[in-house]
Amino acid sequence: MNIPLSWYLILAASLFCIGLYGVLSRRNAIAILLGVELMLNAVNINLVAFWRYLDPAQMGGQVFAIIVFAVAAAEVAVGLALIISVYRSRKSVVADDIDLMKW
């Protein structure tokens, strides 16, 4: 275990930014959700790395990571259900086309 903490943090930062790029650049709504998943994983890497490197006897970091798992599962379930529902009524998964509630 002689990996510096900064390696984990920089890896998580790169993963977060790749996910951010995916969210901002993709047209397909499902691909946007894929980018969100990458960002959530980057956050989880940080949480677990801080837990391991600061105080492994305190379980807060791992508990928070588990709650992020649950929230990610909820987000994906609702998001994909919305996309499938929109696709059924409008025959499109392009985020720009879904402008029914846009002013």
């Binding site: 900064s6 984990y8 998943e37 677990v48 379980m59 807060g60 791992q62 609702v78």
Partner: protein
């Protein structure tokens, strides 16, 4: 260069490479499969960080449930824009610039942190991290309330998802 550093660098290369494929590849099914590879790399990192329970949960929940859900959704909606037409918005260079700026800022902050090159503290031999995690999740002094709130959130989200996706009701 020790063995754990080599494992870290290999899994970091796997994560970054597959994440780049997730956001750039044209075919969405391939993007979802690359996401599986990236999630697997993150599970290896959890193993390196001695968070064995999280590594297992990552494989079971993320790869086993979430990634499969993505593949289902892609297959249910793939008639639209399968391989034709642009997959990225016209403003994608702006998105790339913003991503690089955020990356530069984060790396600057990380390198500016005090004592960032520290190595991991030893886990005392008598501490059982998986057992401690289980007790922290159910003991009222620790994290029982957030745990219950998360489970209610998950239940509500899944009921909502079933209701939204179930389609037109007969009036």
């Amino acid at each position: 260069m020790t063995a754990s550093q080599i494992v870290f660098l290999l899994s970091a290369a796997l994560i970054i490479g597959s994440a780049l494929m997730v956001v750039t590849t044209r075919k969405l099914v391939h993007a979802a499969l690359w996401l599986v590879a990236a999630l697997f790399g993150v599970a290896i990192l959890y193993g390196l960080l001695e968070a064995g329970f999280l590594a297992v949960v990552q494989v079971v929940v993320y790869i086993g449930a979430i990634a499969i859900l993505f593949i289902f959704a892609v297959m249910l909606t793939r008639k639209e824009m399968r391989d034709t037409g642009p997959q990225t918005r016209r403003s994608w260079p702006l998105a790339a610039l913003l991503g690089l700026l955020v990356l530069a800022g984060l790396v600057f902050l990380v390198l500016d942190m005090p004592d960032v090159a520290r190595t991991a503290v030893e886990i005392p031999a008598e501490v059982d991290t998986v057992g401690a995690l289980g007790q922290a999740l159910v003991s009222p002094e620790a994290y029982a309330l957030p745990f219950e709130v998360a489970s209610v959130l998950l239940l509500a989200a899944l009921i909502g998802a079933v209701y939204i996706a179930s389609g037109q009701k007969k009036e």
